[in-house]
């Protein structure tokens, strides 16, 4: 009971976060419950995301983990100078995952992973104070990855495989702060592209120098989603040669940055496991969101982003209460990739402290129910986006933001 209390305190005083940019760190119930650590934790097919090299150490022939999350994430904005106030109403995001591994031989395991590491859904009230930057955005990317995991010797294994990504984006903003049609409806553009696909890869290694200590490494490549001939739909455009906006196609590139994870896990006192992961997301690839409209009369849209590479520090703890229950808790600190002056309300994320907890209920030897939750705590921040231009003059959009995210999740683990 004392131990249980300890765990509860740990869960309350530590945190897990929701990732910066449009990275969504929700790739497994067991991992999330432990602060989304996992590069060196061997306990389920979730390794198919966190470290494919570890799959070969799973004891069972067949391992399947499947689950999903409900993301309740919202942002408030205000400007005390003008009294402008806005709150997102973003609905519930539902990232899903599926991992399966099959032990082919003692030294070779094959696997298949499907997961959604990038995405964003932000919905502001139409025509809010920042509507010239974004009204709403919905970004989704599904990663599908066949895997091989190879045990080179008792201490060392490697893994990896190609990644196929298919993504979609839908984005709406007003053309500027003031343009309307004759009836005062704000001129707006919606860009929509779906079925945008590309290839990437990941490679990983795991080193197990002792029975209790594992060290892991995983690298997932950058993938650029290149939208070609997406639909750009202009609405409420005045009937005037001065505003030559009409429906057209657009090209755009959205980078899904590379990510590096290194970490270790350590088993102690028989039933305890501690894990630490360090993640580096190579966000600096995201310099600008540029929309290139096919119609030559429509000026292209350039939106500076200038993200910086960012780090995440993750800590997790697991306690096996008994055969039936395993309890987990964790914390991570997630550094925002957004620099000062580039705080755009379509991904309004600053540094966050994140607290996680969860448990597994082993219904029987083969089947377990996993649950987790994440609470992301963002500090209130005064921020601005300084790279919106009107007639060549920069018009910063500034104010005070506060975000929060609460993410419950549930999944199952099946082994055979």
């Amino acid at each position: 009971m004392k131990k249980l209390l300890f765990l509860a305190v740990f869960a309350l005083t530590t945190a897990v976060t929701y990732a910066g940019g449009y990275r969504v760190s929700l790739q497994g119930q067991r991992a999330l419950a432990m602060g989304h650590t996992g590069v060196a934790v061997v306990n389920s097919a979730e390794l198919g995301f966190f470290n494919p090299a570890g799959l070969v150490y799973l004891e069972n022939k067949l391992n399947v983990s499947v689950g999903g999350f409900g993301v309740f994430s919202d942002v408030v904005y205000q400007n005390v100078e003008t009294g402008d106030f806005a709150r997102t109403d973003s609905g519930v995001g539902t990232p899903l995952y599926l991992y399966a591994s099959y032990k082919v031989t003692d030294w070779l395991t094959a696997g298949l992973s499907v997961y959604t590491p990038y995405g964003s859904s932000v919905e502001w009230e139409d025509d809010w104070a920042g509507s010239h930057l974004v009204n709403n955005i919905d970004l989704a990317a599904i990663y599908i990855q066949p895997l091989l995991s190879l045990k080179l010797n008792e201490y060392f294994s490697v893994g990896g495989g190609p990644i196929y990504v298919t993504g979609s984006v839908n984005f709406n903003r007003n053309l500027n702060r003031t343009l309307t049609d004759i009836d005062g409806n704000r001129a707006e553009v919606t860009v929509d592209a779906s079925g945008v696909s590309n290839w990437g890869w990941s490679a990983s290694a795991m080193f197990s120098p002792t029975e209790d200590l594992r060290i892991g490494f995983n690298y997932r490549s950058e993938i650029i989603l290149e939208a070609k001939d997406g639909d750009a739909d202009f609405e409420n455009i005045p009937n005037s040669p001065l505003t030559p906006f009409e429906d057209t196609q657009f090209d755009a590139e959205l980078p899904l940055p590379a990510e590096l994870a290194v970490g270790f896990s350590y088993e102690f006192c028989d039933k305890w496991l501690f894990a630490f992961d360090y993640n580096m997301t190579f966000w600096s690839v995201y310099e600008s969101l540029d929309l290139d409209f096919a119609n030559p009369n429509i000026p292209d849209s350039q939106n500076a982003r200038m993200y910086e590479d960012s780090s995440i520090y993750r800590f997790g703890l697991q306690y096996e209460t008994n055969d039936m229950f395993t309890l987990r808790a964790g914390y991570y600190f997630d550094e925002s990739p957004v620099q000062d002056g580039y705080f755009a309300p379509e991904t309004p994320r600053n540094d966050s402290n994140n607290f996680t907890a969860g448990l597994s209920v082993n219904v029987n030897e083969r089947f377990a129910i996993d649950a987790s939750f994440l609470y992301s705590r963002f500090k209130e921040i005064d921020a601005s986006y300084d790279f919106y231009f009107e007639n060549g003059q920069a018009v910063p959009f500034s104010g005070t933001y506060k975000s929060s995210a609460f993410v419950p999740g549930i999944g199952i683990t099946y082994k055979l």
């Binding site: 005390v80 100078e81 003031t178 343009l179 309307t180 009937n239 939750f373 003059q393």
Partner: protein, 521 residues
Amino acid sequence: MKNYIKYLPFLALGVISCEPELDNPVDEVGFYSNGETDFSNFVALGNSLTAGYADGALYITGQENSYPNIMAQQFAKVQETQLFTQPLVNDNAGGLLLAGNQITANRFVLAVGANGSPRPQIYTGMQPTTDIANVLSGPFSNMGVPGAKSFHLVTPGYGDVSGVPVGTANPYFVRFATSPSSTILADAAAQNPSFFSVFIGNNDVLSFATSGGVGVDQTGNLDPSTYGMNDITDPQVFASVYSTIVNTMVGTGADGALVNLPDVTSIPFFTTVPNNALVLDAATAANLTGFFQAVAGIFAQGAIQQGVDPAVAQALAAQYALTFSAGPNRFLIDVPVSQTNPLGFRQMTEDELLVLTIDQAALAQGYGSVVLTPEVLQVLGILQTGGQPTPEQAQLVLAAVSGVDDKDALDKDELSAISTAQASYNATIKALAQANGLAFVDARATLAQVANGGIPFDGGVVTSQFVTGGGFSLDGVHPTPRGYALVANTIIDAINATYNSTVPKVNIGAYGTVTLSNDVQ
């Protein structure tokens, strides 16, 4: 499973705390202060500027961007307020109907002509649908009535539809007067406002000004019922009416703000067509100079023939020997024929103004200078070769002079009458604000800033440059939404200073300027 259930409260806790909350949210009562006043029931009195009139008409989006409506939205961020109601018209075309017949023109929009250059034109994208016979059931918080002069606020019958055709009633007030015999002031006071604003008196000089001064300066005439539409209101009448308005509104227990009157002659209606837009090349300038030498000569000769002392005749003729140079030259205006100016024209002086509505095509054809017909040129040829024109031919030359009509210009006497009246009205407004402890709003200073260099905002500078400056709509008289937002901020500043309130101002960059449309004929 029992063990599992005890974690449910944690989940519930998480769900509840999921909404992000700011430490000091602006949408919580108490963030901003109403100070020593009460904005809960705000009523605005005034004319077209208060109504949100723009682009030569009253239309819905203009009304939505009226300064009282902008202020009311800001007041609502400070405290619980009653809904601010406005007598919205039916559409965004703007014209009014009376029993199905259109009685006022549609709005202007900025249209691009075939030559690619944008200019204001009347919007014809839809038929107007606002029939003033459909009386709205008020009262309304926005009591702004386009066209109203100060004394109209206390004139019974100003909202009586039967008076519209004969000019004793106002079609805009007809739409929402509580009864045909009521007055604007009575309808405003009956709402028992907690706070009011008064912005009235512009039309008491403006219609005189926009008519080019064809009206009468009624200073000294204390009976406004005898005034014509384009007359200047006697300052005593103004003071008396304004004092009645303020006393009545203060008498309801309300606080308020009084807005003084901007200089009507600094609006684009008078500053867009320069009085020296007669741009000539050297040859044309020399021709014109020669022409006026001929005029002077013909006049002197005629005068002497009629028995005028040659010295006097030469002296009088000298004023007509105008000289022109290459580049910009000032236009001529017609003035009353007098002993000192027997031909009744002269060149404009530096500060005199032309109206926006002057026929610019005619200016290019000689209006404002000389209409040189072949017949006139022939007479000039005779003169140049030392010949003697017949009296008929001489008359042709004099008749070729085409001074700008009185209705198209404000001369120095008219400007002086306007300026004197405005100064008196503004002295009244300031004195009444001080005497009653009301906020005094110096809109005159704000507009002066807009007209002289402009007012910077986050996306540029608002100026009174016609079409492009951002401050004035396409009628050259009334502000754009951005201009109205600037007025709202000016009033809010004065209110905050007077009542120790902290009403937030708006970002004028978020308000639009002129409306684009090629739905024109």
